[in-house]
Amino acid sequence: MALTREQLAQRVAQEFHDGYYVNLGIGIPTLAANYIPDDMQVMLQSENGLLGMGQFPLDEEVDADLINAGKQTVTMVPGASIFSSAESFAMIRGGHVDLTVLGAFEVDCQGNIASYMIPGKLIKGMGGAMDLVAGADNIMVTMTHASKSGASKLLAECTLPLTGKGCIKRVLTDLALMDIAEGKFILRERAPGVSVEEIAKLTDGELVIPENVPEMTL
């Protein structure tokens, strides 16, 4: 079975380590914040200028001056700090954020990512995504493996305008966890109940299948 949004978030959370500063993109990545293990401290960076983002506020705590990068009202955890957008991207571009998780439309086996624009259709802008993929060393992309019509999104070469070039090394889809190295996808884990053949069929770019591909533990 393909992973649900919640299961994807649970698998993302397995990438967290104690003491990590993490930037979570809008959507599924944000959900991963609900699965930070109790015995671990993770601090969330929001690129609009907040380190130490907390949960959503209670109704009476809502503050128009305190939002996340998705423009949602949020709170701050003890030990949080506030800074300008320039400072925020200095920490992103300077490689100080330990893990970045974001969504994409397409990823290819050269590590290219397309996530911000479908020409003639969707023009909203890249926001901070280009900075995040260029600045972080440890990036995880979360996405669906294929379109609803069954077209692979893990390609030999991205067809959409790129967000970043050669910067993605790890992709989590609803079917599989893959690393990218030397121009190939390397299958690391399967979603529970999903076969290697099924994954291979929906992966357009060159795929390396190691002898043992374990099921994800969630």
């Binding site: 929001s46 690129e47 609009n48 200028g49 907040l50 949960q55 959503f56 506020p57 209670l58 109704d59 809502v62 503050d63 128009a64 001056d65 305190l66 939002i67 996340n68 998705g70 423009k71 949602q72 009202t73 949020v74 701050m76 506030i82 800074f83 300008s84 957008s85 320039a86 925020s88 991207f89 992103i92 571009r93 290219n112 624009m117 023009i123 909203k124 802008g125 890249m126 926001g127 901070g128 995504a129 280009m130 900075d131 260029a134 600045g135 305008p161 790129l162 967000t163 970043g164 070039k165 050669g166």
Partner: protein
């Protein structure tokens, strides 16, 4: 003698000298920390042909979105322009020119503009449409593109508290692009919630020194929330 007193008492005075075809750098992220009364004053003045650099372009009927209603904006430099149907319509019809700029690059372009740095190299956007036509240099085996600084004829921004000299404090994530936007404007106009007397702000707690501020005005703010998201107790 006004000395260092930056306070003006009307929004008309605050934007005196703003003319058609000028460039404005604006603070704010979404509708958070936007100079909403200064934007309203630009609408009232009817200034046209504007180039505006701001992370976002407001939403329909709010923020910079209201300047689209009378086609006052010629060109928008922004990182994210969703949530705005009128914007999309004007962009698709070609009435409105849009330069999509990565958020960090936009912040740094403003910062550089205010700091007298004409351009800088960044890895952001290399190999993407953003990098097209820009100079590429390799440093330590990595590719970087040359991005030019932004300087505006005016900058408009919002802070929380100021003293009369224009020393500023921001509040929570309403800080965002505001400090850099202010530094990048030849005439920097800032509206705040409260103006206190000189000496009442602790110098150690000033986020942006008044040297960058030309005009200061106290206003009242609507502070629209775009995505009111709450948890239950």
């Amino acid at each position: 003698m006004a000395g260092f007193d930056k306070v003006v008492t009307s929004y008309t005075e605050a934007l005196e000298g703003l003319e058609d075809n000028m460039t404005i750098i604006a603070g704010g992220f979404g509708l958070c920390g936007i100079p909403e009364n200064l934007i309203a004053e630009i609408k009232r003045r009817g200034t046209r042909g504007l180039t505006i650099a701001s992370n976002n372009a407001g939403v329909d009927g709010k923020g910079l979105g209201i300047l689209l209603e009378d086609q006052q904006i010629k060109k928008m430099i922004a990182s994210y322009v969703g949530e705005n149907a009128l914007f999309e319509a004007q962009m698709m019809s070609g009435e409105l020119e849009v330069e999509l700029t990565p958020q960090g690059t936009l912040a740094e372009k403003m910062r550089a503009g205010g700091a007298g740095i004409p351009a800088f190299f960044t890895a952001t956007g290399y190999g993407t449409p953003v990098g097209e036509g820009k100079e590429v240099r390799e440093f330590n085996g990595r590719h970087y593109i040359l991005e030019e600084a932004l300087v505006g004829d005016f900058s408009i921004a919002k802070a929380w508290k100021a003293d009369r000299y224009g020393n500023l404090m921001f509040r929570k994530t309403a800080r965002n692009f505001n400090p850099m936007a202010i530094t990048a404007g030849k005439i920097a106009v800032v509206e705040v919630e409260e103006i206190v007397e000189v000496g009442q702000l602790d110098p150690d707690e000033i986020h942006l020194p008044g040297i960058y501020v030309n005009r200061l005005i106290q206003g009242t703010f609507e502070k629209t929330i775009e995505q009111r998201t709450v948890r239950s107790a």
